[in-house]
Every structure is written in C-alpha cells, then in structure tokens.
Subunit: 404 residues, 2 copies
C-alpha cells in the first residue's frame, strides 16, 4: 500500500466527462489499497475565460485581485472531482490550496511555495478519504490567496509529494511521457523509461514542452521522484529522478527543436571592458530573457568584436528598440535581427564521460549541408542555431546519429 500523489492538468479535467474519467482512475488506484492525493488544475479554457473577464474591465488588472479571480478555477475543479468520486462511492474531500496548508510568499500571480503543512491532508487520508487539492494556489501567512504562475499545478503536486513523503508522484498530461524528440518532427522518436532531473531541465530549457523548468528544479532540490504519463491510457510513463550510474551509458537522452528563438547580432562592438555588461543590463532591465550568447574574437587591432545572442521571438521588437536606443552610447554599428532561425539541442548526462560528442554532432550537420550559425554548450547539452528551414531536418539527422 503506497501513498500516491496524482496531478491532472486542465485538459484531463476539461469537461465533466473527463472529470468522471479521472475519478475512475483514482478509484482504481484506491481499490488496490493505495492512499491517493489528487492535485487538479482549472478545467481547460476556464483560466483564459477568467483572464478575458478581467481584461474586459482593465488592461492590467491588479495582481492580488487576479489571484483572487484565478483561484476560483481550481476551486471549481476540486469540488467537481470530489463529487465524481462520491458518485463512485469513494469517500473524497476537496481542499483549497490554503486549506491544504500550502503557504507561499506574497508575490501575487507568481508566488513561491515557502512551506507545506499537510496536517489536514494527513488527517483526511487517515480517515479513509481521497484528498483533492487545488493546484496552482496557496495562501500567504497573512491569509491572502496567491497563485503560483505557469506550470503551478505541477509544482503543487511535486511540493505536496515532497511534504507528504509520498511513494510516488504521477503527473498526468496529454502526452505519454518524455520522448527522445518531438514525435511530430521525428517519427522514430521513442518514449524514455527514465531521465535525470538535469536532462529534463536541459530539454525543457531547449524547447521541449512537457513541463515548466521550475517544477523540475523543485523536484531536483527536494529529491522528489515523479512520473510523467498520459491520462488517456494506461501506458507507463517516464520516471524523472536523480542521475544513476546506468544513465551515463546512454550518451544522448534526447534531441530538441526550439522554433521560438530569434537571433540578434551586434556588429562592431568596441572591444572595451564593460561594453557587454552594459548591453545585457539594458536587455535584462526590459525583462527580456537571453538564451545563447556568442562573442567572436576581436577583429585584429583597433579592437571591435561582434556579439550574437538569442531571445524569445515575441521579445524581438522590444529588444531592437532597447538596442537602437543604446547603440550610439556604446558604439556598436547596428543591431541585425534574424527571426528565421531554429535552435537544435542534444542533451545527455552521458556526454560528460564520452568524448567527441560535439565533433560528431557538427560533422553530421556538415555532411547534410546544414550551416551552423551559433554554438553554445553546457555540461550536458550542446545547442546550435541553424536556418529555420533546416531545423527539422537537423533534428531528424541528430536523432538518427545519436539515438537510432
């Protein structure tokens, strides 16, 4: 008999029919003698509808009030899910984030979990209940309702699993697990049986959409093992956990393609101390996330260099404006923007102990006539920027070379 935390996302609870389906799955686990805590998101579409109502009233609503508003989405789902379990004669009780003891800081709309006091959850489990907890939300020590931001329900589940010392944390979603690559791009992509936190982090950072970075970081920090699996079938999913020795035998865990990046090149930046710092401070002050940064060697005597970096595509106009504003002061010639790029990454803890991975990657791309525009590496990831129309073929080639 295990204590299992299950998290169901918005699509999995997107209608009363889907909620009944979720209840059936929960009831089956409970029927096997397990104790189950269920974390649910708002029904798909509800959060957007609520945001729409708020925007009808004012373009930039107060964030405390947004939390008050958005928290109703998950509260609706927990009540309906408890009812659906009752309909199956399973004792169940719903708790808001606050009632479940999820305490956060006071940064509304993107609060951080500070502490979980699962006394109430334990008591209700001991009484034989399935406990349904509203994901994505918590309460400050002063009793203000907060929400955790994008991916918040995953975070609720992983944090609750950690606090309860659960035997298993299952993240139910609309995909079967984590794949070696996006199956829509690489038809031969395979589902992974397991993956390390770090690989999962690098894949998420490289454009794989399965989970938000912060949930994986949280799981890594508190050593919460979790499984990503589908709510639409009974296939086993992918276990995400600490790196094991056996994981290193696989050189590359996955290949990811990110089409959402744009490249900016600053031409002829004076090769002076502090130039790069001033540039990236201006970018950061505008809340623009920079991903890859590459600086070429200085152009001989006289001292000027080119700096290229990538940002999220939607931030491109804003970044151009910032850079045009500081160009004269810093002394670079101009900022060239290129939206027509893709980033392709290979990820694997095995590359630490296998040499020649980068060479093999570049060679495979060269053989296919694909030009590399930028390169960036971390300990367990190599990313390259290529022309957008070469992104898919580069992904397929690297998958074939490293994973087939």
């Amino acid at each position: 008999m295990a204590l299992i935390v299950q998290k169901y996302g918005g699509t999995s609870v997107g209608s009363t029919e889907r909620i009944k389906h979720v209840a059936g799955r929960v009831a089956a686990y409970r029927g096997k003698g397990h104790r189950v805590v269920v974390i649910v998101s708002a029904m798909s579409g509800v959060t957007d509808r609520l945001i729409g109502l708020a925007r009808d009233i004012m373009p930039l609503p107060n964030e405390r009030e947004m939390d008050m508003l958005l928290a109703t989405g998950e509260q609706t789902t927990i009540a309906l899910t408890a009812m659906a379990l009752h309909a199956l004669k399973v004792p169940a009780i719903s708790l808001t984030g606050a009632q479940a003891g999820i305490t956060t800081d006071g940064v509304h709309t993107k609060a951080k979990i500070q502490n979980i006091t699962p006394k109430q959850v334990h008591r209700l489990l001991d009484d034989g209940n399935v406990v349904i907890v509203a994901g994505f939300q918590g309460q400050t020590p002063e009793g203000q309702i907060t929400t955790l931001g994008r991916g918040g329900s995953d975070l609720s589940a992983i944090a609750m699993a950690g606090a309860l010392k659960a035997d298993l944390c299952q993240i139910y979603t609309d995909v079967d697990g984590v794949y070696t690559s996006d199956p829509r791009v690489v038809p031969s992509a395979r589902k992974l049986g397991e993956i390390s936190y770090d690989e999962m982090l690098e894949l998420a950072g490289a454009g794989a959409k399965v989970m938000q970075l912060r949930s994986v970081e949280f799981a890594k920090k508190f050593k919460v093992v979790f499984e990503v699996r589908s709510s639409l079938n009974d296939n086993p999913g992918t276990i995400v956990k600490e790196e094991t020795q056996s994981m290193e035998s696989v050189v590359i865990r996955g290949v990811s393609l990110d089409r959402n990046q744009a490249k900016i090149t600053l031409v002829h930046v004076p090769d002076q101390p502090g130039a790069a710092a001033r540039i990236f401070k201006a970018i950061a002050d505008s809340a623009i996330n920079v991903d890859m940064i590459v600086q070429t060697a200085s152009h001989g005597a006289g001292g000027a260099t080119d700096i290229s970096f990538t940002i999220d595509k939607p931030d491109l106009l804003k970044a151009k404006k910032v850079l045009d504003g500081i160009g004269n002061a810093i002394g670079f010639k101009h900022a060239a923007a290129d939206e027509n790029i893709s980033k392709v990454s290979i990820v694997g803890v095995g590359m630490r102990s296998h040499s020649g991975v980068a060479a093999k990657m570049f060679e495979a791309l060269a053989d296919a006539g694909i030009n590399i525009e930028m390169i960036s590496t971390s300990e367990i990831k190599i990313s390259v920027v290529v022309k957008a129309d070469k992104g898919e073929s580069a992904t397929r080639i690297l998958h074939r070379v490293f994973l087939e």
Copy 2:
C-alpha cells in the same frame, strides 16, 4: 461622512459592463467622502451554471462540495468589482466571506451566520479602501467554506451592516423599492417611502418577491435599517425599519397576490384529539411548508370536521401521496386538491388600531362578486383565498379601496 454597506445582486453584476456601472456608483459615494463596503452576489447565471456542472456529475451532490463549488461564483465577482474600482482609480480590495470574518455554523448550503468579526474590514477601510466582500458565503470555525442558501447575499449585507454599525445599508436590486402592490397587476401601485420590518415580513410571506424572509428577520432582530433600491437609476428606494408611531396612521401598507399556492381539503376528519397533529406532522416530516390552515366547526353530533390548508404548488403531488398514505389510519374520507386558487393579502401595522378592516375587505370582494374560500388573519395581515381567475381583480379592488 457615513459608513455605507451596499449590496448588489446577480443581475446588477451580471456582466463586466454592469460591474463597471456598479463601480461607478460606488466611486460616486466614496467621492462624497463616505466609507463604503460592497457585498456582491455571483454574476447572474453563474450559480445555475455551476449547479448544472455538479448535476452532470451526480444528481444529489454532497453539500460540502456544493458549497466549495458555489462559493467560486461570488469570489469571481469580488475580484472583478475590485478591478473595476481600480480602473476608476479608487483603492479597493476584495475579501471572501471567510477573509471578511463571516463565521457560520456547519449546515452546508444553508448555513446560519453565527458571528462576524470585521477586524480586517475595519483595518482596510481605515487604510482608505473600498472593501468588496463576497456575499452568500462564510466559513465554519474549523475553516470549512459554507454558503447561506437563497437570499444569502442580502443576509451577508445586513449582518455586515449590523456588525460594522454602518450608518446605512443599501440593498440594490432590479426594482425601485417596495410597492403598495405588484405594478404589473395594479398599474396604480406606488412605491413606499418606508415600511416596518413586520409589514415587510408579512408582504414577503404573502408572495411579494423583493427579499427573502430570513434577511428581513435578521435585520429586525439586530435593528439594522436598510434601503431597498434600484441599481439602474438614482431614485430613492424604500427604507425598512422599526415601526414608528406615524406608520400607524396608514391602515394598509400593501396588497399582495400569491399565485403559487394550492389548497387541500380533508373531508370528514374525525373530531378526535390529535387528528390534526398527526396530519400536519406527516406533512412537516416530508419537508412541505404549510401556509394557511382553516378548520370548520364540527358537523353536529358524531364528530367530524373538514380541514383545509394551503401549501406551495410544487409540493402538491408529494402532499397528496403523504395524505393518501395516512387517510385510513386517521379516518378522513379523502383529500381534495385544488391548484386553481390565489391568495390575496392586505398588510399594515395600522390595522391594529383601526377596527373594521376585515369587514371592509370582505364587503369589497362581495360587492365585486368574488367568493372567499378561506380566510386567515394575523395581527397585521388578512389573507383570503379566491379562485385563481379572480386573484388579479381582487388585488386591484383591495388596492383601490385601501390605498387610492
């Protein structure tokens, strides 16, 4: 500078446009220097939609979970109302029933307010905020979310006004106030400037739909003066308060028509002690509300009597079933049901000090050829049952005789 509690019902906050309109009104009061607490209901239609979702899942959902579900309706409105005030540059903050310190008993879906601790409301008012409180909901001392049942938002407003010792409590609705009669039936009906709690109670009990009985009872008990007025215009409404001497100079305050009653006559009930008690206990045990009861004198020696009473029309079938089940045991001949009736009532504290009111009423109806089937009186009300097709004309005749 006054402290004003304003309550807006579901229709008044039925869309984001309507909510902006409410915010404009609140802002105007605040602009005059008043401190304002706003109680809002769920947007019209929302509660029914939530009930529909629950019913999709099971026919009789658990009441604790219904409260968890329904409380989201008002929570949505408070957040949107606070935003609408922000859009007008008015500092405003929303509070759930629990946050506002509304403590109830644990009878889910029809909880009773036990206590209001408005510390938080006072603090936020002192900081210069308009405070928006979710109506219809509260929290048990153990932290369970509860709702107050039909008319609960009115109750929240009146209880909050009492707890805050507010100078004024305004109940905004879609009618202009309390009328001498239903203007759709009696075109010459007038809006009343003021009315006593008791008159309001008798009118509500007699079919006038302005407010639920329990809110008026609560206001009477805690001596909360309130005004019923329209959220669609700036006309003064009707003040509901304790009886004053001047109110007695008006004999009749209003005439009401209730088309929602049905009559049952039990023929030839044995004239024995306890027969009536057994009959009405059986009816009460089936949760059927009885309104008027009339027992005629015994039919000479041998001892049998007829008993007539009225109940809500939707309960008629259930009542027939109950009565058919106990007919033999108690010994009455049969239960005759009549749906084709209307109840017409005249109400006024002045009738205490004016004699001949009943005689004048019966005479007016007799002159119009309207037959009276049942009569029932209280200290400040006289009700008669007439054929359904005579209900409207009886109402108009009594309005003309007593109020024009």
